[in-house]
């Protein structure tokens, strides 16, 4: 039973297909993210759920109801806009009260609810301020309060933290998650920031070119990317081209011997092996790992919490590695690198790519 469900939804703008056969389901009280680069169709998908765009094909269901033709003001869906869209001619109080006034809620009730929601977003006593007297972060909170005060079944957030600087951003991520838990509303969150999606979401739909590339929990998306795009977009990775070998083995070009992978992974006829840089170990005395290779250190960049190492296996296979700064390494020295079979994943080659 989904709270929001899209079934094979297509939306075209002229000759461009912004949303291409998108199917996904959002469960009740879930924090669900649409993640992808700009122009991937995530915002359009969100606008379809809000009712600002009508799908050309496919079905949008809100609860049990097919909602394709329901105008936005009759949907029980709140929205926090990327550029806030707070009413500049109204006070903070009136902005938040707007939805309640439209629903013809009584005056005392409105006052009570607005005050509660100001409390919820951490702005008690700000009701009389004008919008332009608030900082970016405060405006953002008002936007969230305004969208939440009617207690919509679903809250849509379109890159709401985009315009904020890093510190406030991180703080607001935490706040949003707290609010979501406290109120227990379904959140659908659009972002191009993979870190944001990974830390906040229960489930993520990674989108590219209007299509959903993969749906899964942050851990699934990060550890078991299904496409090269997903592996590349979320975090850094090493891609090793190769093809299937014997049971539990994958043959990579440029490596002296086969790579041990989890049984089942090797079935891919042609594919790429994806290994995250932080999952690769490095050191001259390395042993006890499923895969071990002799390598030479090409480059070391100190980055505080870790060092970014480039290591070469053979003549032309370079791997990116995040290593502990305590490991003694020197450029040009011989060393060993290795990883366990559970740390790598084999991705099928995309036909189009």
């Amino acid at each position: 039973m989904f709270e929001v469900e899209l079934i094979d939804v297509i939306k075209r703008f002229g000759t461009v297909t912004a949303v291409d056969h998108v199917s996904l389901g959002v469960k009740k009280n879930e924090f669900y993210s649409f993640l992808g680069p700009s122009g991937c169709g995530k915002t359009t998908t969100l606008r379809i759920i809000a009712g600002f765009e009508e799908p050309d094909e496919g079905i949008l269901k809100l609860g049990q109801i097919v909602a394709n033709d329901i105008p936005p003001y009759k949907r029980n869906v709140g929205m926090v806009f990327q550029h806030l869209a707070l009413f500049p001619h109204m006070s903070v109080f009136d902005n938040i009260a707007f939805g309640l006034k439209m629903a013809k809620v009584g005056k005392d009730e409105i006052r009570k609810k607005v005050e509660q929601s100001l409390e919820l977003v951490g702005l008690p006593g700000f009701g009389d301020r004008r919008i332009h007297q608030l900082s970016g972060g405060q405006q953002q909170r008002v936007g969230i309060a305004r969208a939440m005060v009617k207690e919509p079944g679903v809250l849509l957030l379109d890159e709401p933290l985009g315009p904020l600087d890093l510190k406030i951003r991180q703080h607001m991520q935490f706040e949003l998650k707290r609010i979501q838990k406290q109120v227990g509303t379904t959140f659908i969150y659009v972002t191009h920031d993979q870190g944001e999606a990974l830390t906040m979401s229960d489930n993520i739909a990674v989108m590219n070119n209007g299509r959903v590339e993969q749906i899964g929990s942050p851990r699934e998306i990060y550890d078991k990317p299904e496409t090269q795009f997903v592996a590349n977009f979320i975090g850094e990775t090493n891609f090793l081209d190769g093809s299937h070998g014997r049971l539990g083995e994958f043959m990579c070009k440029g490596l002296p011997h086969a790579v041990v992978v989890e049984v089942g992974e090797e079935r891919t006829r042609e594919g790429v092996l994806s290994i995250r840089p932080e999952r690769v170990s490095i050191g001259p005395d390395l042993k006890g790992l499923d895969n071990l290779f002799d390598a030479r250190v090409d480059d070391i960049v100190y980055q505080g919490s870790h060092v970014a190492v480039s290591a070469r296996i053979g003549d032309d296979l370079t791997m990116k590695i995040r290593a502990n700064p305590a490991v003694p390494l020197k450029i040009g020295e011989k060393t060993r690198i290795g990883w366990n079979k559970t740390d790598a994943t084999v991705i099928r080659l995309e036909k189009s790519a």
């Binding site: 809000a50 009712g51 600002f52 105008p71 936005p72 003001y73 009759k74 949907r75 869906v77 709140g78 929205m79 806009f81 550029h83 869209a85 707070l86 009413f87 500049p88 001619h89 707007f98 939805g99 439209m102 629903a103 004008r130 919008i131 332009h132 305004r146 969208a147 009617k150």
Partner: protein, 268 residues
């Protein structure tokens, strides 16, 4: 400043001198000011002419607003790629002389004009209609001539209106009508104010349109001043009428501006 000095302050000072009777018949300076010509105002036809002018200007403003608001809303919000073309169509009439356009309107409304000829030829009327030389014709001429002055500032304010505000209102449960009343209208108030002033102020003093399209019943302040100055050669009374007109318009505009900008910070 020099420009203003030569073409505004100097003539205005001369008019002031005349209005207070400080220049005599022989164009000699008369040091003692008198209120005689202002008192004369109330004994003349001037107050009723003033009333009519204000009424006509008011009617013109309201009609321009009623016509201009939906037009500029349509162009700014729904115009899409045709926006520029549509605005050009609004502006193009400006490139034709004001006088010429009014004469063109005369050839349409005339007893032998297009409307009458067409209606007669279809047998819809047996006698030509009297479309000219009345209040309605003057009103039509004024609305026609001043409409672009209303549309331009309205369009500018609607163009600036963030469309996502309307979406926000929608997502908060406001249908199209209530979105309009609570969001669009308050946020385009500055455009309404500017447009109304741009139409009202020149419309009060208008004299060519009533001269060409109007009859005796549509005699306006502009015509009165014109007659006093150029026909009756009563520069003193003409000046006092002008001064009263200016004072009245300034007062009304000030009050109106205060009303329009009430409670609104200039953030938009």
């Amino acid at each position: 400043m020099i420009y203003l000095g030569v073409f505004f302050f100097a003539p205005f000072a001369i008019v002031l001198l005349y209005a207070f009777g400080m220049v005599d018949l022989l164009r000699q300076f008369e040091p003692v000011p008198t209120l005689e010509y202002f008192l004369e105002f109330f004994d003349s036809v001037a107050p009723s002419v003033f009333g009519r002018s204000l009424l006509m200007a008011f009617a013109t403003t309201v009609l321009c607003l009623l016509l201009g608001y939906p037009m500029s809303y349509y162009i700014a919000v729904k115009g899409g790629r045709r926006k520029e073309t549509l605005m050009l169509l609004v502006i193009i009439p400006f490139w034709v002389s004001f006088l010429l356009r009014t004469y063109a309107l005369m050839t349409i409304l005339d007893v032998n004009g297009i409307i009458n000829v067409t209606l007669l030829s279809f047998g819809l009327i047996s006698q030509p209609l009297n479309l000219m030389y009345n209040m309605q014709a003057v009103l039509l001429g004024m609305v026609y001539n001043y409409l672009p002055f209303m549309i331009l500032p309205l369009y500018a304010s609607m163009e600036k209106l963030d469309k996502s505000l309307l979406e926000a209102a929608g997502s908060l449960g406001a249908g199209p009508t209530r979105s309009f009343l609570h969001v669009t209208l308050p946020l385009t108030r500055s455009g309404v104010g500017a447009g109304s002033i741009l139409v009202f102020v020149p419309a009060v003093g208008e004299f060519i349109i009533p001269q060409l399209l109007g009859g005796t019943e549509s005699f306006m302040i502009g015509n009165l001043v014109w007659t006093l100055f150029l026909k009756a050669r009563n520069l003193w009374f003409g000046s006092s009428v002008s001064i009263i007109l200016i004072a009245l318009v300034v007062l009304m505009v000030a009050l109106y501006m205060k009303y329009i900008t009430r409670g609104e910070e200039m953030t938009i």
